[in-house]
Amino acid sequence: MILRGLWERRTLSLIVLIIAIIPVASAAVGPIYAAASRTTVVREVLRAAPAEARGWRYTTSGDVGAGVAAFTRGVDFLHPPVYGIETQGLLAAEDMNIPLIWQEGQCAHLRMIEGRCPQAPLEVIVSEAFGDKMGKKVTFANIVTELGGAAAELTVVGVYRPISHGDPFWFGRGMFTTVEGAKGDQRRAEPFFVTRETSSAITLVGSKRNWTNYAILGIDLAKVEGEDLETIAAMQAGAVALGRQTQAAVFSRLDDVIKTMRAQAGTLSVPTYVVIGQLVALAWLLLFQTVGDLVRARSQEIALARLRGHSLARVWRFALTEPLLLLALAFPLGLLAGRAAADLMIGALLPGVPLTVPATAPLAGAAALAGGLVAAVASAWRTARRPVTEEWRRTPRRTRPGWVIDAVVLALVGLGLVELLTAGVISDASGQRAGALAVPALLALALALLARRLLPALVRAFFGLTRRRGGLGAFLALRQVARGTVTAGSIVILATAFGLATFAVCAWTATIGNYAETARFHLGAPSVIEVTPVRPHELAEAVRKADPSALVAAPVVRVPGSVQMVATDPIRFTSVAYWDADLAAGRQIADATGLIRAPAMPRAWLTGDRVRFTVNHPSLRQDLAVRLMMTVSVPSRIGPIVVPVAYLTGTRSVREWNLPPACRTERCELRALRGELDYLSIAEPAPDPTSEVFGVTIAKLEIRQDGVWREVDAGLTRSSRWTGEGEASQDGLRLDVSDLTESSIRMATFPEELPAIVTGVPGRSPVPGLDGLNAAGVKAAAPTWAAPGLTGTGAIVDLEYADRIAYGLHSRARFEVWVTEGQAARITEALTAQGLGVLSVTHLADLQARFAGEGPGLALLLLLVSALAAAVLALGRTVLALYSSARRRRYELAALAASGAGLRSLRAALLVEQLITVGAGMLTGLGAGMLAARVALERIPQFAEPPTTPPLPFEIAPGPVALLVGGGVLVSVVAAVVVSEVLLRGIQVDRLREAQA
């Protein structure tokens, strides 16, 4: 009987089934998609993390296998452990401690540039720095063949070059100073790799006699999922405890990564669940009406059951069986459909992320279905309690819509708006402001509730007009719309769904625009090539050779900090970097970079082993001496190196002093000269301290390189090249040495404050400088609201100035080459050819994709997809409701046809009725969506960390909104025409003989 009933109402049943399946599917998609998004977040954060923050390094002097097994028990997201052993060997010939390492599979991660991999005990391979030892025997002071025996001899069988610093195989240990493609300029203690058997073939002596066993436990990015986050956190906590409780040590830099993952997962979860909540609510609304329709379609049968004296329980069962069966059928089908849809979505939007169905997915599906259940129960209750005779009334009683629900919704909207307008950007993961995030849907619902009351009244106002003109079609249509029952429900559904869809489209287009704008400024140029650290002049030279036109590439050094610094070649920067003159008070980039350019200025380079000063000075008292020092910048050292060059007594002196050893090969630079008075006796200083000023004149500065002395062009006679306490003249550079303070004079290669393009208000905070010493002040030559490469308060300065002022290079400085659109591959190739190691190439789209892959972006995408699906569903449901309504009126239509109303008029009546209803719903939705966008758009989270700069434009692209409306109108018109024709074919005057349904 149930199946017969379902077949009898097959169209309605099928539509109810579809309408029930889709919300279940949509609701189930949310958690599945959220889980995949969470996996994406976890993977992306791990991918961006350094190698040592992507797993653990388990170290022990005992059984590493057992320890690792215990530590990783039940964990399935790790790469297989990479085992290794390690000790330190004191290389006798070099007086250096060299790590001796065997790591499982080591040779696959090294490039052999000479010889082969070690295969037998006592075979070893060395880095290029020790390439001269190829084929030779090496011995270590602490390694012998046996206790009391001779030093063990290890044979160098190969020379390797590490392929990449970033290779997670090495767990970010920083063992290598050179990498593939980059230049090594110094012999460093890079490890010697041996075979595992070597550990048994030799004996360690001295204080450290054991080999250390270790295992590298890398997290497999292809396996780790969002739900593993807490397991990772628990393992990290366990790792810390392990170090306290056992002799094992587990090292990792996962703490910060876990914090970042949790924060991003937090920014994902709140918006996602609000989106799912809205979807479920909309599903309730849809199902409530549709399932209600199904129950109402059976109201006569239910009345018959009551007429025949069926018990209330039986009547209920009779009333509920069909809808419940459909809902029960819709649940698994919906889950399957949701899984398939999520699979498609994830495949398209989050490629590579596995699909998992969390327990919340069926719960969300069930929650969505609950709307149908409530509707079925409520409708069955109403039908079962209503007087039976009501079913046979020729004119159904009119029920006026109550104000209670409307008042509750309007109150909620008001509260949400107040919260929204007073709370600012909603980024609190606690969910306390989630109510405000729901305002777009509530606003749409509120306007929909108002529209359903206004439309009948508005339509009634045109009654008079249709009496006089417009024909029978308009006359009938307006009266049917004014009756209100179907119209009201359809407008509420359609306006709410379209409101949400419009808002979602607005939000998505604005967000995409914001991502693009932010990516443009944060990245700085269409493509950015990160290279291995080199000297700034080497970077500039490499770029010059790679791009002789100076129009395609620009060298950039980025230094992070509370005040960031971007140092670049201003001329090249002008051609390559993004710029928005509107954000810089109308100033074009060429004007801005023109203000920060450093004038050409010779620098005093010191490459050699010894320096010689020729100094003239007045005769010094016997109890006084002048200590003369020079400040030197040594590229490989952070901070100034003060070299004492002379201890002056008497009058004229020629003094020599050693330069720092690094200056033998590196380009050291003379930055300043300093002098101070030294009292040779403990006598009281002179009563008038001002009288104790001595002019010390440096007449000549020479440097010895390869045993040959040559004069250094330090501009000792040119006043423009020095600034400080003294003066350059024909006689040389005079330094006024006082006993009050230390006196100094520096080379005037840079101003006190570097001219800069600044964002934010750096104020007196100095920029970090290339050396990270925060010694460089800046002058706001060109203030702007957003500057390329700066993600917050910061300054763009000339790389030449930055280099002149810096002492060394900070380890956090990033060396980049910015290139114009489509030139990245060519410039990358050219840079590599010049020996620069290319670490990564980032395009604008990559950064945009990263923003879109963060929590809020993923949630907004879910909102967009869900809202569009809901809009389609709402449109379908409305067409169905209009069809059902008109079908119920077939008797009436047949009567009209019998009384002479032409098909043309009836067609017009049906068309106009449908178009008015659908149009009103869509128009209300459009207005609600636009209003919600205006109110809420700037307050919904779009970024995991909202950017300080650039100012976000929040520009809504009209195209997609027009597409939504156009698509909606097109589908509505087509549906209206089809429905009208179907109904018109069903109008037969013969039906007048039948009972009025």
């Binding site: 009987m1 017969r4 009933g5 077949w7 009898e8 006569q300 049968e301 018959l304 059951a305 009551r306 007429l307 025949r308 004296g309 069926h310 018990s311 209330l312 039986r314 007087p387 039976v388 005779t389 046979w392 003989r993 039948e994 009972a995």
Partner: protein
């Protein structure tokens, strides 16, 4: 013994702005085994009275007893029980009595669900109404006459003590109508089913044992054994049958002249 009794029944329908009195002070007693035809012009209140007897409406005033139970005092559960055990109802439009997608047999069986099922009776009833051959055809595909006969069979499915039928022959030709009347009479004779039938069809009323005519919401007259008698109402009101309106038109004044066994009404001119 009466199976149905109305006492001072008043029924008022409340529309938006108006109240319509459908029945006023109706007293009616239907004895067990009687077959009563409710007659009267359209809108007189016949269907309303039938619905009151079926417990589908609760009277605005007065009381209705079915098989000794005061319907007004019964809760829904007991009322359902009374309907299931004692009442069979044929609604005015045959389609309304049936579930169109169910077969004839299933429709009859559906009406038995309030009690225990009796498959044999289903077949028996369908045979009696001449639908035994098409017992497995969906009701919705039957002709109007077949549906009407099936509606009667459905109403008799539970062996009701009181059959309430509203225009059961309205869509039938004369022969079919007579068959339906015969069916009702058979039920009365063989199963003791009392029948109250609303009809405009003289053939139907002639076939039943008693007629009750409702006019303007009152019981105007009763007919037994071919004789039609006016009924003196609760307040002594008597409705002059329409066929005497030319003698005593509505609105005219009359003098009452007492007789030993009644009164005579004489029109007073002027």
């Amino acid at each position: 013994m009466s199976i149905a009794r109305c006492e001072g029944v008043v029924q008022i329908y409340r529309a938006q702005d108006v109240e319509v009195v459908a029945l006023r002070d109706v007293d009616l007693v239907v004895d067990e085994g009687e077959t009563v035809a409710l007659l009267g012009p359209s809108g007189a209140g016949k269907t309303t009275l039938l619905w009151l007897l079926a417990g589908l409406l609760r009277p605005s005033a007065g009381r209705v007893w079915i098989n000794g139970s005061d319907l007004g005092s019964l809760d829904q559960r007991k009322l359902d029980r009374v309907r299931a055990a004692n009442l069979g109802v044929v609604l005015q439009n045959p389609g309304r009595n049936l579930i169109p997608y169910l077969t004839a047999a299933q429709n009859v069986a559906f009406a038995q669900r309030g009690l225990r099922r009796d498959r044999r009776r289903v077949g028996d009833l369908l045979d009696r109404v001449g639908l035994g051959d098409i017992r497995d055809s969906p009701a919705g595909r039957m002709s109007g006459g077949e549906q009407q006969r099936l509606a009667v069979a459905v109403a008799l499915a539970n062996r009701p003590r009181l059959l309430l039928a509203d225009e059961p022959t309205s869509q039938l030709d004369g022969e079919s109508g007579r068959a339906v009347v015969e069916l009702i009479r058979q039920a009365a004779e063989q199963e003791g089913t009392t029948a109250v039938v609303v009809t405009h069809d003289k053939a139907v009323s002639d076939g039943l044992s008693r007629t009750v005519t409702i006019r303007d919401g009152r019981v105007g007259s009763e007919g037994r054994r071919g004789e039609n008698l006016v009924v003196v109402g609760r307040e002594g009101a008597v409705q002059v049958p329409p066929e005497y309106h030319h003698l005593l038109p509505p609105g005219s004044r009359a003098r009452i002249e007492p007789l030993a066994d009644g009164v005579v009404l004489r029109r007073v001119e002027g």
